[in-house]
């Protein structure tokens, strides 16, 4: 099979007067780990729920593996979802939870049991098969939810904020685990997140959403280096946005050199240090220049003091021009 696994054309979903998803076009390729990124209320979750079939679009088309999903209820779609709350069935133990989808397919008991055992092995929960969700830790529950969705071998796995409910430490490790699992299984993952760090570090490609629209689609590198708009530049990482002739220039803090002497670079500006934040591996400076306060990130240099007069300089190709 070839062609995109997901093809979305002019998809729109309104809640009352508000268009939660507004004329969205999108293609997702097979085997991608695709992230939908945006702030709360941007429509990313609604888009995911449209994929799962929990919402019915008001306009547009949604194709999964070339098949139009219009009017196809969730239980007939070749996708499975891992819910943000995990939505584990509290009255069933782990094995029953994971085997639930297989039993609905009418799979023979023995075969289902093998499949469940295999997937529990994969997520390192084999010993917990007989426990109820209430008897598990947060991380274990997350893995049950993952196993329950994966055991169905869906064409697409949908993940709604998969790491949001975990504590910080666990989140880092789980990130890598999800990426590893995705690479092993070769299943397309579509993940919703509000955390740009998560999206950047995990996704092969991502879509940034704002007010129901997709504002940019690309690899994390593309989006960071070549943001399509001031919104994206500002939303992803930190950017100094400078007004230039015919538009704006996005200038990342680490692309700016900081020195006491005037540097020999094509672009220079003089300024005064307003604030210094030492972060160990780097320091962040807020520099008041003629036009604006600029943020600069460099390896720490302890000789700089607040109030010092300094020079900023950057290469000709350091900034990315923006139209809007």
């Amino acid at each position: 099979m070839s062609g995109p696994i997901v093809k979305i054309e002019g998809l729109t979903k309104r809640f009352g007067a508000v268009a939660a998803v507004d004329r969205v076009d999108l293609e997702i390729a097979r085997g991608e780990l695709f992230a939908l990124l945006g702030g709360s209320g941007c429509g990313k979750t609604t888009l995911l729920r449209l994929l799962a079939g929990f919402e019915t679009p008001d306009a547009g088309r949604l194709l999964i593996d070339g098949q139009d999903m219009t009017g196809v209820p969730p239980h007939f779609r070749p996708v499975n979802m891992m819910f943000q709350s995990y939505a584990l069935f509290p009255h069933m133990n782990v094995a029953e939870n994971v085997g639930y989808g297989l039993r609905r397919e009418g799979m023979a008991k023995a075969e289902a049991a093998t499949r469940v055992a295999d997937v529990l092995e994969q997520v390192r929960l084999a010993e917990y098969a007989q426990r109820r969700p209430a008897q598990l830790s947060g991380g274990q529950r997350q893995r049950v939810a993952l196993a329950r969705a994966l055991v169905k071998r869906p064409k697409i796995l949908l993940l709604d904020e998969p790491l949001a409910a975990l504590d910080r430490k666990l989140r880092e490790g789980t990130r890598f685990e999800l990426v590893r699992l995705q690479a092993e299984l070769g299943i397309t993952f579509v993940m919703v997140t509000h955390d740009q760090e998560e999206a950047m570090s995990m996704a092969t490609r991502l879509a940034v959403m704002d007010a129901g629209r997709i504002v940019q689609v690309g690899t994390p590198y593309d989006i960071y280096e070549r943001p399509a708009s001031r919104f994206v530049a500002d939303f992803i990482g930190v950017a100094n946005i400078l007004k230039i002739e015919g538009g704006w220039l996005a200038l990342r803090p680490e692309k700016i050199a900081l020195s006491v002497e005037r540097p020999g670079l094509p672009n220079v500006a003089a300024g005064k240090i307003v604030d210094i934040a030492y972060e160990g591996d780097r320091s962040l400076y807020r520099i008041a220049t003629d036009g604006a306060v600029m943020i600069v990130s460099t390896t720490p240099n302890l000789s700089h003091r607040r109030g010092d007069s300094v020079w900023l300089g950057w290469a000709a190709d350091a900034g990315h021009p923006l139209d809007a």
């Binding site: 079939g53 969730p74 239980h75 499975n80 819910f83 939505a87 009255h91 133990n93 609905r104």
Partner: protein
């Protein structure tokens, strides 16, 4: 704080245990129609043995159980969809819908049962409608049959079924049903495997709230029922009022309570242990 905790026990003591002890004391006494009150206290089982010499009591008890059980089942079948619909209605409409369920309580119970007499009578509104509409020229009369009793009980106790069911269904996480659908469960399967088992505590509570008073119901069978519908409440009434035999009436009441309470207590204990499976052994 300690006193607040004692309140439920005080309540139970004053309004259940003490009356129960008094009724038991009367049941163990002997009938003394010529004294006031008409009981000679003592310890005797005559009243209880009398209950077993005549199959009337057993028959009345079984009839009551049967009528209460079918009424409870019907109330469940009606009440469940109602509770479900209310729990799934828009949050701002739920208070109104709940209000509509409870609204009949604002009218006296007796008046509502009388109103059913007016509906179900030979020339009642129901038959008038059937004749007027031409559906049936000679409809039978429902009033005075066991059907009317069942109808009355279902009507009167339906709110007691709906409210606990609503309480559990309202708390039911919708994402569980989405998860079930996502995993391939059709709506029916999702209902049977997720909604129903998770609402079981509400089902049990609602059924008990309908079943228990229905077994001892007196007013509804008296007004809506026929003469042949022999329920334990009527037997108790006859013993107390017609025969003025307080010990025997008390014995009937005690047996009614014990035979109802024992299975329920057992069930409750089962429930308390039930939902958690045997803990897995730790290695």
């Amino acid at each position: 704080m300690r006193y607040v905790i004692a309140l439920p026990f005080l309540w139970l003591g004053i309004f259940f245990l003490l009356p129960f002890a008094l009724v038991l004391a009367i049941a163990l006494g002997t009938n003394a129609p010529d004294s006031v009150p008409p009981v000679d206290l003592g310890i005797g089982l005559k009243s209880f043995t009398l209950l077993f010499t005549d199959d009337l009591y057993l028959a009345a008890w079984l009839t009551s159980l049967r009528i209460a059980a079918t009424s409870t089942l019907v109330a469940l079948l009606l009440g469940y969809p109602m509770a479900y619909a209310i729990a799934r209605a828009a949050p701002r409409r739920r208070p109104l819908l709940l209000m509509l369920v409870v609204l009949p309580f604002w009218t006296s119970f007796l008046i509502r049962v009388y109103a059913w007499m007016g509906l179900l009578d030979e020339n009642g509104l129901l038959n008038q409608f059937l004749r007027w509409s031409g559906i049936a020229a000679n409809p039978g009369t429902i009033l005075g049959t066991e059907w009317a009793v069942q109808l009355g009980i279902v009507y009167a106790y339906l709110p007691f079924m709906v409210l606990p069911l609503y309480a559990v269904l309202e708390k039911l996480d919708v994402s569980l049903l989405e998860a079930a659908a996502d995993l391939g469960a059709r709506p029916i399967a999702a209902f049977l495997t997720i909604t129903l088992p998770l609402s079981l505590p509400g089902v049990v509570a609602g059924c008990l709230l309908v079943f228990i008073p229905a077994v001892g119901e007196f007013v509804i069978p008296d007004l809506l029922g026929g003469t042949e519908t022999l329920m334990i409440g009527k037997v108790l009434w006859d013993e107390f009022f017609t025969n003025a035999d307080w010990p025997l009436a008390s014995a009937v009441a005690i047996c009614l309570l014990v035979l109802l309470a024992a299975p329920i207590a057992l069930f409750q204990r089962q429930q308390a242990r039930g939902p958690e499976p045997a803990r897995e052994r730790r290695r």
